[in-house]
Each structure stands twice: as C-alpha cells, then as structure tokens.
C-alpha cells in the first residue's frame, strides 16, 4: 500500500522535473516523456487507492491527507484529458510537483485515521468527499490555467519576447481549460455540497450545523456560482475569468483546507 503511494509520488516528482527540463532546455521529447510520466504516476496512484480500499473496505477518502491525495489524482487525470487535445505540457511542470507533495504526505497517513468519521458505514460521507475533492481538483486546474494565462497575457501585451524555451501554452488553450474546468469543477463542487447536506441530515438529523467548514464552503460555493454565471453569460472576458479563477481557488483552498486545519 505505502509502496504504491511512494512510487506514485516518485513518478510524479520525476514527471514534474522532466516537464521543467522540457521547458528549460527546451526539448519536446522530454516534455512528452514528462506527460507519459504523469500518466504512469496516475496509474500507480490508482493502484494505491485500490489497495487501500481492499485493506480497509471503506473508500480511503475520509482523512484530509488522503482526500488531498485523491484531489491530486483527479487533477492529474483532468490535466491529462485536456492535454489529449491541447498543447499544455508546461502545466505538467506545476501539477507534477504538487501531486508529488500531496501523495508523499498522504503516504504517511495510517489507514486507521479514517475510521473516526460519523456515519462512515454509509456511502454519503464518501460520496461527499469524492465529489468535493474532484470539484476542488478541477477548480484547481482552472486556477492554475488562470495563473499561466495572466503571465502569458502580460507578456504578449507588453511585447516581451519569449525567453529561451519558456513558451507557455497559447492563451486560447488556457482559456478553454479554464472554461471547461470551471464548468465541471463547479458541478462537482455543487454535488459535493448537496451530498454533504444529505450526509449531515442522515447522521445528525439536520442538513445545516453551522460549522466553520460549512459556512466557508457555502461562501466559496456562492462565489463560484457567481463566477460561473458571469462566465457563461458572456459578462467576463478571458483575462477577468483567469484572475477570478485564481482568486476563487485561493478562497476555496482556505475554506476547505485552511478552515479544516484551523478548527
């Protein structure tokens, strides 16, 4: 179990370093290798989850490190899916190391850490974490593409030539990733919120307990609802959408992970 996680972490790190080298050298072959590395890491990561699930008979999602590891896995898969159609190898340079950190930290979590969840025998808490984590992963990809978009937008606007090899994905590709990630991520986040309410209803008899986690998550959900509406109503251009995606994800990270740690 631990071996699979640490192997996946090592592969993600190698893929991230490979992607960075691919940009810096620059070498298309190394960049392609890094993408295949990410795919291999995702496969081993899936094996790690399958092993955890077999050992504990409950989905390995109800501790923060394992949920973060799952978020990283979904993020990697989402990025690979986008890469299928677009030139986004540069994003692997960030996603690889982030996935490495998430999986590496999760590899030190003991399986017993996830048994303390109220109503864990029910599928709702796991559905909540699964959907919420997947939503966060997609919104994270939207935020990342937003950062890249803002950097590239600024470079093109100020007419700075491309540095040696540092060619980022095209603005259009980054914007497409942003739109698709926002749409899918917001849908998954909404489903995560809904399943969370059902879980609370079944476990505690009320869908709203007013905890910090619930309040901040609902605020984040509201922000994303506004951003999604603005984007799809055509009231936001690509640059504003990119900036919003970055700000939105920072807030979501605080609402879900930050508040969890602080409380």
């Amino acid at each position: 179990m631990i071996d699979f996680q640490q192997t996946a972490a090592a592969i993600y790190l190698a893929a991230g370093v490979g992607a960075l080298l691919g940009i810096a050298l620059p070498s298309t072959r190394i960049s392609h290798g890094a993408v295949w590395g990410l795919a291999a890491g995702a496969l081993v990561h899936a094996l790690a989850f399958a092993t955890l699930h077999q050992l504990e008979s409950v989905p390995p999602l109800t501790s923060l490190p394992l949920a973060t590891s799952f978020t990283a896995w979904i993020g990697v898969i989402a990025l690979l899916a986008f890469m299928w159609r677009m030139r986004l190898a540069g994003l692997a340079a960030v996603v690889g190391p982030v996935a490495f950190l998430a999986v590496f930290l999760a590899s030190f979590t003991t399986p017993s850490a996830q048994k303390e969840v109220v109503g864990a025998s029910h599928s709702l808490p796991h559905a909540h974490v699964l959907l919420g984590s997947a939503g966060m992963a997609l919104l994270g990809i939207a935020g990342l593409s937003g950062v890249f978009f803002l950097l590239e937008h600024r470079r093109i606007k100020t007419k700075r030539p491309i540095g040696r090899g540092f060619r980022l994905p095209s603005l259009e590709a980054l914007d497409r990733v942003n739109v698709a990630s926002l749409a899918v991520g917001f849908t998954l986040l909404t489903l995560g919120v809904v399943t969370g309410s059902f879980w609370l209803q079944s476990a505690e008899g009320t869908p709203w307990t007013g905890t910090g986690h619930q309040i901040w998550t609902m605020v984040a959900w509201g922000i994303y609802a506004g951003l999604t509406a603005a984007r799809f109503a055509g009231r936001q251009g690509a640059r504003q959408a990119a900036a919003s995606a970055v700000a939105g994800f920072v807030f979501l990270l605080f609402a879900v992970v930050g508040v969890e740690i602080l409380t």
Partner: protein
C-alpha cells in the same frame, strides 16, 4: 590531396560585385575547371549571397592561380569591377580542414545572412547534383558534400537554430500561435493589398488558417489578391462589420491618421462577446490607434514590435549557432579522419599486391615440380590464398583502424618500412611497376568503387 575553396559572399562583397559572378551554366564551368591538370574535382556553389568554388588538388599553388583566373576572367568575363574595386579584396580562401568546416557551416546555414534559413541546403544539394552530372565531382568532394548534408541535418535537429521566425510575416504567424491554439478555425482580415499583405497571407495560409478576407481602398486590387489566395474581397467601409468575425487582422494601407480607432475596436470587441483578436499593424504611418492594445482581448503589434521580436529571434538563432559550431567541429574532425585514412589505401593495396605476387611466384615454382590433377592444383591454390589472406588480415585491419587519425600516419610509415614496401629488392617488388601502371602513376588516388574506408573505419 588538398581541398581548396575560393569564394565571395554577402559579407565580403556587396551585391553589385556579387551579381557579376553569378553562374548560369555551372556544368560547363566545372567541366572547364577539371579539364586542367591541377584540379582533380570541383563543385561550384552559386546563390544570390555567395559564389564559391571548391576543388581538390595535389598542386595547391597552381590550383590557386587557376581559381584566381577562373574568377577574374571566366566568371566575370574579364570585365573590371564597379568603382575600380579589386577582386582579391572580395575573395576569401580556405584550405584543408578550414575549407571542410566552411562547407559544413554553409550547408548548416550558420554562415548565411539569415542564420538558420532553410534555402541554402537545397542550393547546396543542387550544386552537388550539378557537379555529379558534369562529372567534376569525385570521391572526396562527394564524401564532403554527403557529410555536409548530414551535418546540416544534425545542426537542425540538435539545436534550435531554425526554431524562431525572423521574417515579419513569420513572426506575425508565430505570435498568432501564442494567442490561438488552432488557426484552422480562425479568420484573417487583411487590410491592404500590397506585397507585405501578400507575404503574410501566404504565411498564414501555409499555417492552415481557416478563412481569409481582403479589404482594400481599390476593390479591384483586393479582388485580384483574394482570387490568388482563395479569399473573399471586400470594400474598406465594411471593415467594422468584418472585425466582429475576424480573429487575426493585418493592416498595411496608406493614410495620415489611424483609421481603426480605439472606439471602433471597443464596439467590435463588444460584438465579439469578448473573444480575443490579434491585430498586426505594419502600416507606416500606423493604421491602428496604439491605445487599442490597452483594450482587454485585443492584442496589437506594430511593425517596430514585430521587428523587435524578429531581432530577438535572430539573436537567439545566433546563440544557437554556437551549438552548431560544436557539431561542425565534430564533423570536420570526422571528415579529417576519413581523409587521413584515405592515405592508407595505397599502402594496403601495395601490400596486398606484393603478397599476391609472392604467392603466385612460389605457387608456380612448386606446382612445376609436382604432378597434380586439376582439382589438386585448385585446392593448393585456394589453400595458399587462404594462408596469405589470414596472415594479412590482422595487420591490414589494424592499419585501417589506426590511420583514421593524424597520428596514424606514423603507423603507416612503420608498416611500409616493416614490409619493405619502398625496398625494390624485397620479395614481390617486381609487381610495383605494374601497380604503378595500373593506377596510372597515381597510387594514392582514391576511387569511388575501389577500396575505401567505411564510417567505422573498416576497409570495404
């Protein structure tokens, strides 16, 4: 055998000098060159930026004089240069390794006016083909050109010498690629119908741009250009409407004030529902208000911006050409090794001939004393041939392996002394005269079909 190169290029001669030396019929010129005793092989490279003659010779001074005459009287028909300029001031000369490295540099476009440009390789191939057809290209220059093409391929693949565009039209296309992921679903609007617009249209179409529209004050000119590029022609007053559905706009028309103002662009962007638009203004005075670049989703580059990018890219190519120089050096060393190894060929041939001569003589002597059947004679003959081959194989193979570097020449000398190849009284020496006659007194001349060393130094 030495390689000698004499030529002029864009750095040593201005165009009004270079144009005097352009050769139309390279085959006839080459045939004249190799008809002389001092020149063995010749290739003539004639492009708009360079005229170079490359020859192999055993008599370097005579060959040099011959090439001077060739430039002074045959290429320029003896006419004086404009402004009283002296021909020797415009010519450069390279001999041996320097000449090899120069040819490799030229083929790899390191020596080109626009570093990394792709045309020169095709022109070099054409020059080589011309020399082959005229019969002036022998084994040495053939090998040199083959290695030059391989070097060019290595430089192209192992460096980024040709990655960044340096022409204004190509820079515009490259910038469009940084904004748009796919150009094949995009529409270009070309405002103007001049040469720059035509070049850009060609570059954009080559990149697979979806649709093109041409707008011009004189509609008939727009229609003419549109017809050539399968585009649609429009009147200038339709521009504002066309902006709503165009993704790449290239403008180059005359006029005192920018005709595309910030206000017009703002209206177009609203109608485009915030989809990005890339505007390239190559008009002087500028056709598009510079403040358009401050609008969100509008990316504007003028001619100076494009030229700045082109200059930065050219600088990048020059940096990459240093990597190319390393490859040129490696390949030049390799070729020099091959040239040295060529010197082993006559020694190897000589040694084989001597051994064969001894074998034949001794065999004849023994056979005359024996009463053997035809089969028995053939068996003995085959056995003696096998013995000679087996004895000679290790020293010949080592000789081949040692002589592909300059130090190998000493080994070659030792081998000649050891086997007494220069001793006329040594066994088998009677064959030397025949060998000299067979090779027309030119024992160390390599042949295309005869013994040559392959890439890995083995005798083929």
């Amino acid at each position: 055998m030495k390689i000698l190169l004499l030529g002029m290029n864009h750095r040593t001669a201005p165009v009004h000098v270079r144009e005097r030396f352009v050769v139309d019929d390279t085959r006839a010129a080459l045939q004249k060159l190799v008809a002389t005793d001092e020149i063995e092989e010749a290739v003539l490279v004639s492009t708009c930026n360079r005229v170079e003659v490359l020859v192999t010779t055993r008599q370097i001074e005579l060959a040099r004089e011959r090439l001077d005459r060739f430039f002074a009287s045959e290429l320029s028909a003896g006419a004086p240069l404009p402004g009283g300029a002296k021909l020797e001031d415009h010519l450069y000369e390279h001999v041996g390794d320097e000449a090899t490295a120069h040819v490799f540099r030229v083929a790899s476009a390191i020596d080109s006016m626009v570093v990394g440009e792709p045309q020169i390789l095709g022109q070099m191939k054409e020059a080589y083909r011309g020399a082959l057809e005229s019969g002036s290209c022998g084994p040495i220059l053939s090998r040199l050109f083959q290695r030059a093409f391989a070097t060019a391929k290595r430089v192209k693949n192992e460096t980024r010498i040709a990655h960044r565009p340096v022409s204004v039209a190509r820079v515009a296309v490259d910038l469009a690629r940084q904004i748009f992921e796919d150009l094949n679903d995009k529409t270009a609007l070309m405002i103007g119908a001049g040469e720059m617009i035509e070049m850009a249209l060609f570059a954009l179409q080559r990149e697979g741009l979806g649709a093109q529209r041409v707008v011009n004050r004189t509609r008939s000119r727009a229609e003419g250009l549109a017809a050539r590029f399968n585009a649609t022609a429009h009147a200038l007053d339709e521009v504002e409407g066309l902006l709503e559905t165009s993704d790449v706009v290239l403008s180059c028309i005359g006029g005192d004030a920018p005709f595309l103002t910030s206000e017009k662009m703002r209206r177009a962007l609203r109608a485009r529902r915030k989809r990005p638009i890339f505007l390239i203004d190559i008009g002087v005075p500028r056709n598009i208000d510079p403040s358009v670049n401050e609008l969100d989703n509008a990316y504007l580059y003028d001619i100076d911006d494009l030229q700045a990018v082109a200059a930065a890219n050219e600088e990048e190519r020059r940096r990459e050409s240093l990597q190319g120089e390393r490859i040129v050096f490696e390949e030049q060393e390799r070729f020099a090794g091959w040239m040295v190894a060529l010197r082993a060929v006559p020694t190897i041939r000589h040694l084989r001939a001597r051994a064969e001569s001894v074998r034949e003589r001794e065999l004849a002597r023994v056979l005359s004393k024996l009463d053997l059947t035809r089969e028995q004679r053939e068996t003995v003959e085959a056995m003696t041939r096998a013995v000679v081959n087996k004895i000679l194989h290790p020293p010949l193979a080592r000789l081949g392996a040692q002589t592909d570097r300059e130090e190998g020449l000493a080994v070659l000398e030792e081998a000649r002394a050891l086997f007494g190849l220069d001793d006329p009284s040594a066994p088998g020496a009677e064959i030397d005269e025949q060998l000299a006659l067979a090779t027309d007194g030119d024992a160390d001349r390599p042949s295309v079909s005869g013994e040559q060393k392959s890439e890995d130094g083995e005798i083929e």
